[in-house]
């Protein structure tokens, strides 16, 4: 079966500083191990210098979901999808994120896989990316020189590429309390479990504003080299009263902003067309809910 004989050494640092030093010490062979669900399936089978696994398991700074007094939430990078999906705070404040994590792979993959790994892998179809984008989450990047925060949308720069430089580690995410922000997430696949999304979409509506001028955010996954906000479509909806026609038009704009590829899972055309379908569906359902609650 699959054996990662290329792994030659294993390290279990207890602090981010130690982990970072290992990354600098072994610039070629070191790989950070989170949940392992992607990493262990992707390691090269042959490696001259050997892979050095740096496990993040014992680093307490990477763990936990904490809410501060202002209501802002920190999610440690090593938080499993199961913990994201089951967290009462996240289910209450950021339900679309909890939903996205609840749809990753299968229960055991959700027990192993982490939200940090999901974003650091920078797969175009990463489940948690669209909700993190919609909620305006910031990635907390640790480096020996200190911490900095980068919007998740900017953190991912392309397929399997992020802003992280040598020695830097993703510590977690900060999500500001989303007052009156209602969000929906949907993932399209061929099966109901164990799927990598053909398209995944998260849409939010700022319910605080009057329905005359609503703020809509749309984030899309699996339809471009990286997950992104469909700003053209958002702008189209942000200027005046939202009607059915405008929603349909927004779906079309979102479609035109995408640059999907064709692969085994779906053709580029299908992906593009499904953007319009899902965007329209999620906005309509958010609007319907808002109207119902307004009455």
């Amino acid at each position: 079966m699959v054996r990662n004989y290329s792994i030659r050494e294993y390290f279990q640092p207890e602090t981010l500083r130690e982990a970072s030093e290992l990354l600098r010490l072994y610039p070629e062979g070191a790989r950070l191990l989170g949940g392992g669900t992607d990493l262990l399936n992707r390691l090269p089978q042959r490696s001259e210098q050997g892979i050095k696994i740096v496990s993040l398991k014992r680093i307490s700074e990477l763990r936990g979901i904490r809410q501060d007094k202002a209501g802002d939430v920190f999610i440690g990078a090593m938080t499993s999808h199961a913990d994201v999906a089951g967290s009462p705070v996240l289910r209450q404040e950021f339900p679309a994120l909890a939903k996205a994590s609840s749809l990753v792979g299968s229960p055991s993959i959700r027990n192993l896989g982490t939200i940090g790994g999901n974003i650091v892998n920078a797969s175009p179809s990463a489940e948690t990316a669209p909700p993190l984008l919609v909620y305006g989450a910031r990635a907390v990047v640790w480096s020996p020189r200190g911490e900095k925060q980068t919007p998740v949308e900017e953190f991912i720069t392309g397929p399997s590429r992020t802003v992280l430089r040598r020695g830097e580690i993703l510590k977690g995410f900060v999500l500001e309390k989303a007052r009156n922000l209602k969000a929906r997430y949907e993932k399209l696949g061929t099966r109901k479990a164990q799927e990598i999304a053909i398209v995944n979409v998260c849409v939010s509506l700022n319910a605080e504003k009057s329905s005359k001028l609503s703020e809509i955010r749309i984030a899309l996954g699996a339809v471009a080299p990286k997950p992104y906000r469909a700003r053209g479509a958002e702008a189209h909806l942000g200027v005046e009263r939202i009607t059915g026609d405008r929603i349909t038009e927004a779906g079309r704009i979102a479609m035109s902003e995408a640059s999907p590829i064709s692969d085994l899972r779906a053709s580029a055309d299908y992906r593009r067309e499904m953007i319009a379908v899902l965007v329209e569906k999620l906005i309509t359902s958010l609007m319907t809910e808002q109207e119902a609650s307004g009455k």
Partner: protein, 927 residues
């Protein structure tokens, strides 16, 4: 290599050991701690066979590095019931509910269920489905697993399997205790002292000449024990119908999985590295990747020696075609001329893989006399012995094949796959050699279902009478003929099996291409033929404005009529099965809703055939031993129906029947488990052997009780005088007396070569065999909802009716139906092995070869019909295969009913359906 000291608590006991950095928790559990109840099905976290509970949560042990979980508390299946005398309630419930078929996914499923109930003692059905959605099961269709978990949560009463008679009741399968405890020995669980590990070097090209093979660097590599190529061994040709294949390619490779060399080494890592050191120089040839290309004039020839190959039948061959088969009835042109409506359609189907959760594995060991023992995951131990003998030119007497537990076969474990490589390596290096296929090897180089193309033209009268049909069917058999000629023959038999077609022409072709060799997957030709012909049935019905049910009822064959090939139909009642299945789905009463449709489809199938034999012994304690050459590939017939038949014949309890099976040195010949012949044919010979053993008992009892044998009966292990039941003798004393007084044993043996059915020789040409006698029908119906915006299909209700002749074990029958529907829906909706432009498999893993999960499969309602077959034991007919044939046509017809869009290709993924909807819309607006 560095070692890391780790400590765990495994099943309540502390363990400390040193592990290497690449080792996974799975390899430590299996190889270091001997806890082989945790299985390996993929190695990539997608099948769930290696599920364990780690610190209270389920994890895929293949994705956890052993060094990374030091300090963990780990529970495996072996730890579920610490008291060896008791089962955990979940284990008990799995056994009782028939949730165990092959047993390979069972330990993983148990761990997921345990973890769920620990967290949530009262889950609803959806929560149970979700909890098991990471455990792929290829056998059960999940329903019985869900039932078993539900029952534990609800503390429900265990369903009773009591009854007066041994047959007709749902006894638990006798080996399920081993499966739920995780102690069953599957292929990869067999170990031998000093065993070495084998690996196979496969072709890098779809079609190429081999210029040279240099193994010298590999041979010098430290730890390598043997390197073998085809040049240094004597090779014979082998094949099911046409002997066109060799173990190693020597002059030419014909697909990207062809074996070029094999290596044995002290460990798997060294064997893998040594493969990299073998240098093969190829001269690439133009590859033929589709039947269209293969049949084109001037196409590259894949088998230059086609006409020299030995064949088991008169095969008509030319170019890249290895079989041309024809069926002709009546006058086709006249038939079309008489028709009011003629209509033609073309259907295509994909490569579907058996995808048993257990991959192929073999161990070969050579003794000091040179005699070879092979432990194999085969469905056919005697045929395996013969194949090994033919392909490696070793006398049959020098080979012993022992079948291990088979973790799902579905026809994928019928042929010579991994075994010969283990044998040649073991012979060369003098140590036992084990080879277990990885999941990607499984997809690259085993024998999946044929990709097909069906062109169908039919003529029908306005009143619904079918008048004429012309079918051209092409099977893409890949690089070797494999089971292609048989599959084409079956297709020819199936096409004319359901309906009265007075004027019929079938032209069947089996074509070579540079892809993997296709074989026998559960009901070879059945899902493809059923999809094409039964979809076409509904298109025809609509064309003449007739309800599809009425159209079927008008044209279905009746008892006494003949099929297309001229097989006379006895012991059938098609109309009963079809009309009652339709009634169960509510046909005619369903209110029309937008985007919701109903569909039905029927399958004609034949089972039985091929030689078998059995021995039944009465032991000195009155228990019974059945010796059979058959094996069980997971369906359970050998652990339920067959002992029930023996018990019924003798008048003992089924649990008093023990089995000796699957070892060519210990038992007598059986052709192999396939063709749905288990309960039907193996059951029949077991019944015959039991009947003879009873005669022997009666002879002994007649002397003892001083009556004539005709005055005797049996019950509960006693022979009694019918007129005076108090006059009796126990099986135990009769068996022992025979030994002491006359020299035992009390034994019955029987052999059976089931008669083939008559067909009309003037109608057929080029078929590889005539028809099996065990004719049956299945009819499935469903209610589905389509989302026209995305193409997604939601199955709201699914009913599956099958005529089983006699349900020897009703729960086992349900299990076959539910599992078959699941596999058939995979064929219909999600599964497809894709071949790229260079002949490579594009999706050799479970992430993109999509088996239905517990959340995808509807809860099938099985309907059991019993129209007894004279040729089966107690009337039983074969069942395993036809269960998976109808779903694609059912779903296609339901989509057609719902939105008027006809799907002509499987699988029907959401995108394919969406695309077809768009195409139809565009057509409409342009006209």
């Amino acid at each position: 290599m560095m070692n890391y000291r780790v400590s765990y608590v495994v099943n309540g006991k502390p363990v400390t050991l040193d592990v290497q950095p690449h080792e996974t928790l799975l390899s430590v559990l299996r190889e270091r701690l001997g806890l082989t109840g945790t299985k390996e099905g993929c190695g990539t976290g997608e099948c769930g066979a290696c599920m364990v509970i780690l610190d209270g949560r389920t994890v895929n042990a293949c994705l956890v590095l052993a060094a990374d979980c030091s300090g963990a508390d780990i529970l495996t299946v072996e730890g579920l019931a610490p008291d060896a005398r008791k089962l955990h309630p979940l284990q008990e419930s799995f056994v009782q509910h028939g949730a165990v078929q092959c047993g390979f996914c069972t330990p993983g499923a148990l761990m997921s269920a345990k973890s769920l109930l620990d967290r949530n003692p009262n889950p609803d059905r959806e929560e149970v489905k979700t909890a098991l959605s990471g455990n792929l099961c290829r056998c059960t269709g999940y329903k019985k697993i869900l039932d078993a978990v539900d029952a534990v949560a609800k503390k429900a009463v265990v369903p009773s399997s009591e009854g007066e008679r041994a047959i007709g009741r749902s006894i638990r399968r006798s080996d399920s205790l081993e499966h739920v405890r995780g102690v069953s020995r599957f292929g990869a669980d067999i170990t031998r002292p000093k065993m070495a590990y084998g690996k196979i070097l496969r072709s890098a090209h779809a079609h190429a000449r081999i210029r040279s093979i240099d193994t010298s660097r590999a041979e010098r590599f430290e730890g390598v024990l043997a390197v073998v190529t085809g040049h240094e061994i004597s090779q014979g040709y082998f094949g099911v119908d046409i002997k066109d294949r060799q173990v190693f390619a020597t002059e030419k490779v014909r697909y990207r999985g062809d074996a070029v060399a094999a290596v044995a080494a002290v460990d798997e890592e060294i064997a893998a590295k040594a493969l990299d050191l073998i240098e093969v120089e190829y001269e690439p040839l133009e590859a033929v990747l589709g039947v269209h290309e293969a049949l084109a004039p001037g196409a590259p020839v894949i088998h230059e020696s086609l006409h020299e190959y030995e064949a088991s039948f008169e095969a008509e061959k030319e170019g890249n075609i290895c079989t041309i088969a024809n069926v002709k009835v009546g006058d086709l042109e006249k038939g079309f001329a008489e028709s009011d409506v003629t209509l033609e359609e073309t259907f295509t189907t994909q490569i579907q893989h058996q995808a048993s959760i257990e991959t192929h594995a073999a161990m070969a060991e050579v003794d000091v006399h040179g005699r070879i023992t092979v432990w194999s995951t085969t469905q056919k131990p005697f045929a395996m012995r013969r194949y090994l003998s033919q392909s490696l030119k070793i006398p049959i007497s020098a080979i012993r094949v022992i079948a291990t537990k088979v973790g799902g076969g579905f026809g994928g474990k019928l042929e010579l796959i991994v075994e010969p490589y283990a044998v040649v390596l073991a012979r060369k290096c003098g140590r036992p050699v084990q080879i277990t296929y990885s999941r990607d090897e499984e997809f690259l180089s085993t024998t999946p279902r044929h990709q097909t193309r069906f062109w169908v033209k039919s003529g029908v009268k306005k009143d619904g009478t079918l008048v004429a049909r012309h079918v051209k069917l092409v099977f893409d058999t890949g690089a070797y003929s494999g089971n292609g000629p048989t599959a084409v023959t079956l297709a020819c038999q199936l096409v004319g099996g359901l309906y009265r077609i007075p004027n019929l022409l079938i032209e069947g072709f089996c074509v070579y291409t540079n892809k993997m060799n296709c074989g026998s997957m559960r009901g070879p030709a059945a899902p493809q033929t059923t999809f094409a012909l039964e979809s076409h049935t509904d298109t025809l019905a609509k064309a003449i404005g007739m309800d599809p049910l009425d159209f079927r009822l008008k044209n279905l064959l009746e008892k006494g009529e003949k099929t297309g090939v001229g097989q006379p139909l006895v012991d059938i009642d098609y109309k009963k099965v079809v009309s009652e299945t339709a009634e169960a789905i509510g046909w005619g009463k369903i209110r029309k809703e937008e985007n919701v449709g109903k569909g039905m489809a029927c399958v004609f199938w034949l089972s039985g055939g091929w030689s078998t034999s059995a021995t039944v012994k009465i032991n000195e304690d009155g228990t019974v031993t059945l010796l059979t050459g058959a094996v069980d590939m997971g369906t359970g017939y050998l652990y339920t129906s067959v002992p029930q038949i023996v018990a019924e014949e003798l008048g003992v309890r089924p649990e008093d029947v023990q089995l000796v099976q699957g070892d060519t040195d210990q038992v007598t010949y059986d052709h192999g488990t396939g063709g749905s012949r288990g309960a039907h044919t193996v059951g029949k010979v077991a019944q015959m052997a039991a009947s003879r053993a009873r005669e022997e008992l009666f002879k002994e009892a007649a002397k003892k009780l001083k009556v004539d044998v005709t005055a005797l009966g049996t019950q509960n292990g006693w022979v009694y005088v019918k007129e005076n039941p108090k006059e009796r003798a126990s099986f135990a004393e009769l068996s022992y007396d025979r030994h002491i007084k006359e020299g035992g044993p009390v034994i019955g043996t029987a052999h059976l070569l089931p008669e083939m059915d008559e067909i009309d020789p003037t109608r057929v040409k080029g078929l590889s065999f005539t028809a099996f006698k065990g004719v049956t029908i299945g009819c499935h119906a469903a209610l589905v909802e389509i989302n026209p915006k995305t193409g997604q299909v939601e199955i709201k209700k699914y009913v599956a009716g099958h005529d089983v002749g006699r349900a020897i074990n009703p729960r086992a029958v349900e299990g076959q139906i539910e599992g078959g529907v699941s596999m058939g829906l995979g064929f219909a909706l999600t599964e497809e092995l894709r071949i790229g432009e260079k002949g490579e498999v594009e999706n050799p893993g479970f992430h993109d070869y999509k088996l239905p999960t517990s959340l995808d499969v509807p809860e099938t309602e099985p309907l059991i019909f019993e129209v007894p077959a004279q040729c089966g034991p107690h009337g039983a007919k074969g069942l395993g295969e036809p269960t998976m044939a109808p779903p694609a046509a059912v779903i296609g017809n339901a989509i057609y009913d719902a939105i008027g869009v006809r799907m002509h290709r499987t699988p029907m993924r959401p995108e394919d359906i969406y695309r077809e909807i768009q195409r139809c819309k565009a057509l409409k607006s342009s006209t």
